[in-house]
């Protein structure tokens, strides 16, 4: 597709359940990022993938969060045993490279609501 695609666009789940969020980056983009935006907050970095290198997981808030990426394509962000504080918009972005001045292209996000 032409842009970054995320699914689902909305997810409502019960506390304690696991959820999986999906991101399809722009074709040819080697770098992929996951961010989270909680209500009234800025974008919070979660995890970064660059090519086949080991991901930078420094932003993951707890071990309930994990992410995978197959090569330079689809990525999934998994949240286990969801908590109410996990409610947020989860944004995926990709870029052609990880160079400092490389623009990020964002998807529309997944609105996660944990009841």
């Amino acid at each position: 597709g032409a842009g970054v695609s995320q699914s689902p666009s909305n997810k409502v789940t019960e506390k304690g359940k696991d959820v999986e969020l999906r991101c399809d980056p722009i074709s040819g983009h080697t770098a992929l990022y996951w961010y989270r935006q909680r209500l009234g907050q800025g974008l919070e970095f979660l995890i970064y993938f660059q090519g086949n290198s080991a991901p930078d997981k420094s932003g993951l808030p707890s071990d309930r969060f994990s992410a995978e990426r197959t090569g330079e394509s689809v990525s999934t962000l998994t949240i286990q045993r969801t908590q109410q504080e996990d409610s947020a918009v989860y944004l995926c972005a990709s870029s052609f490279s990880s160079a400092t001045n490389e623009k990020l292209f964002f998807g529309s996000g997944t609105q996660l609501s944990v009841l």
Partner: protein
């Protein structure tokens, strides 16, 4: 501790006037700055950027000013148009590369009044 601060959660400006959005940062290692614009239910989109070797970058109605000594940057939109109503995020990255992505501010909601 917030490294990128946008102290105005919202700003209301009349159509045709100048909109000035401010951003302060604390990390002296930041050397590249970007502004992203976000409409409701959409992801942020890149607007304009500036490198620390410059103090001004202009693109049409949008100009970004950087004051390194004050660790302050601002985005000027002139003239403001109704379609400019959105949330604007200031972001910064250090010379170490984009390994941990950008550091974003909390955003400023710009409202352009007719």
């Amino acid at each position: 501790d917030q490294q990128v601060k946008q102290n105005s959660p919202s700003l209301s400006v009349q159509e045709g006037r100048i909109s000035i959005l401010n951003c302060d940062y604390t990390n002296s290692m930041f050397d590249y700055f970007l502004w992203y614009k976000k409409y409701p239910a959409e992801g942020p989109t890149f607007l304009i950027s500036i490198s620390s070797i410059k103090d001004k970058n202009e693109d049409g109605r949008f100009t970004v000013f950087l004051n390194k000594s004050a660790k302050h940057l601002s985005l000027h939109i002139v003239p403001s148009q109704p379609g400019d109503s959105a949330v604007y995020f200031c972001a910064a990255v250090g010379s170490g590369g984009g390994a941990d992505g950008l550091t974003f501010g909390k955003g400023t909601h710009l409202i352009i009044q007719p």
